[in-house]
Amino acid sequence: MDISTGATVKSHCVGTTAIVYASDYLNKLTGEKIERECRRQLDSGCRALVIDFSDTQLVNSIGISILLGIIDIAEKSGAQVVFSDVNNQTIQLFDMLGLTRHVALARNEQEALSTLSGFNSTPTVH
């Protein structure tokens, strides 16, 4: 397992899946750091992204719009994205802004990895 904290965003790889950890507050600054890290992981060959929200207490609309940008970037690279460990309030916001229509949610990292292995064996439906 490869662990990195590039640009202050924690991440590690499991095979060709990058797991990127969001911080406690997702806003423009932290969102851009996540975006940067996701781009870096995709450029270095990752085929799927798990963004872990276990530390995330609060998100704002700019942070969410950056997440949508990340989904777009991943889509262009042919990579899957799963959000894991998202709290209920944040799910409500994601739902409100239609984000959940574009991304799979998982209870935790393990479930996210399982979901991704399922994607690899079945066609993706978005």
Binding site: R36, N60, L93
Partner: protein, 751 residues
Amino acid sequence: MSIADFNGRVLARVPRHDFVGRADELDRIVKHANAQSGRGLLLLMTPSAGCSELLRQAYDRLFNQQSDVIPLYYAFTRHETTAVSAAIEFLQTVLQQYLAFRRKEPALCRAPLTLQDVLELAPSSDLEWIEPLVKMYERIRFSNDNRALVRFCLGAPQRIPARSGKAFVMFDGAQLADDLNGSVILGAELLRVFGRSGQSFVLAGLRRQILDSARAAESNFELLDLLRLEQLNAEEAHSLVDHVALRSKVVLTSEVRDLLVQQFAGSPFFITNFLQAAREKNIALNTYLDCERLYVDELLGGHVNHHFTNLLEEMAPEVEKRVRLIRVIWEAVAGDEKSASIEGWRRRLEVEPAELENILHHLHIQEFVNWTGATIDATTGSQTWKDYLRAAYRLAIKADPRALVVAETIAEALKRAPNTMARHYKQSDRIDLRGVVGAFDCQRVPALLFDYDPFRKTYKGLDDAELQSQLASEANLAKLPQTVHVASCYAFDSATRKAYDEERCVVAHAFEDGIYTDAQQTVWLIAELEAKLEVDIELAKTWFDRLESLARQNDFQRHQVWLISNEGFDEAACEFLRQHAAFCSNKRQLEILIQQIGATSAVQPAPVEAPDEFLMVVPMGEENELLAASAVEQIARRLTFPPQAINQIKTAIVEACINASEHSHSPDRKIYQRFRVESDRLVVTISNRGIVPTNVGSNNAHLSKQESSDATAEDRRGWGLKLIRSLMDEVEFERVDEGTSLRMTKYLRTV
């Protein structure tokens, strides 16, 4: 009365500590006096910038200094009708102020003394020059030689014996000197007399008039220093409003203060007169409406009206001609005529060429028009002048009912006020593009500061410290040219004024490597684009084509287009600009460039009225919205809101704070938050100063899931308000003159 009794004030009308701004100018005048260099100082005043109090303050400082510099202050007034009477008045003033200084009795400056009184009050050591002076004056006065009399009176300060000190004369209102009747043109005459006297002096007046007088007198400009007096800057003007309002006991809010400063363009003359009117009418200035009502009163009948009407009466004493003059000027202003013909004006005014010349001269020195000799540009006057003209035109020529003119002028002023403030806030918030480009001087900077795409890929998401350290190792450096001239694009293409914001689109003439040859000469055309997100190819192309067209029109051979936008450019736009060898940067790149080249009822919280009300003010930025969110969490817990509702309130507050920070151009960069606890609800009001957002009043901003995530990137950045409306039970914009005040209510429900 002695000096001590006057508490330092002799001629000044306001105490020194109440005299705002102009500190440098005051020092300069006093230094000029003390240097005794024998040079003249021409104080070139922008119309209505106010210099009289500055000169009186200088006088007082010199008077209280009691050195060998004898201050003498004389103001030309409209009451003097001839050069001779003004010269006689000057002589009387010189003698009285000399006596006041010598006897250290300030009251003598204003006492109604005759020449006989002067002789009686003069110290015996001074009688030896004052007595002959008075006798000679009596003789010349009845000699019928006006020029000799004027020269004699103006020469009085030179007769003060050296042992008594050196006279330092300050002439105020010099533009009035040339309007005096008689065979002597006094302005030019006094420049001749004082220019040859070897004494230091100040001649203050309208800048265009003073320079004309100096040329007419064939002054030796090597012996003259110039001091330009512009309107006050915003900070000084704010301070002036505060001081005058306090002194006059006029209540006003900071929004109204800021509006006054912008509306009167920092003019001390108009600001002071306006507040004086508020005092006389006992009007509190709490809202824009209070302010504009009084403004229109002033335009139609108060101090402002009096000022402009007097000036027009001087230009055209006969009523019929004056009415024609108002018509011609207003129609030129309304028609945006920048180069009207002289002959056209002459025909419409029905005057002889000489009279027209006199009228145009006066309009020109007051800067109501720009008169080049061949054409007239009537669009240059201040907004106050134009408002006065329009009202005068409607009343005198169109014969509109006065009530209609008043109502419509108030309405126009009210509609204009938020735009005036928005323009000001945007300007204050903006990087000084001219300053940045003007500082280009062959410095070497990382080349990617001019190329957004690689910058985004390499540096976006890095914090400042990381970015600086990585940039330091950038090997690919670009050498900036040396800029020799920067001007607005508008200056090169006035026909497309609306396309170019004067401060956001500039043309810089420069030389590569600072080598002044044709081959090295280059022109940079730079535009700062307004966009919330990355600029797309269409907008980038529009601006690129616009600047290229400007380059072609002006035959700029070698040129470089550089586009700047807050959030940079999308990939297609970057590709397009790269193909056309144009530069593109985002705001962060520009800020780094600046560092590298070394260029250098507002929403004031009302007092908390209820015990269940909390007030919090946080600076914008630095994630301070989290402080507000944390505070409201504590308050909501006391009301036993469930965790989900607390999170919704917190998110709504964060969004409101972000909106306030991102779009307001707030002058104080603060967010005002009021939390009111009621038995069944929590009411949160988030306010900020700045521009009024365009979506205020829109009630259709609820989210629908279908439209949300499919929205374009630009729309996504407008999610904040929609989110707030979805998270809170009631959301309402409160009416404020400027900025935003958003009230959000969450009801307590059993879950």
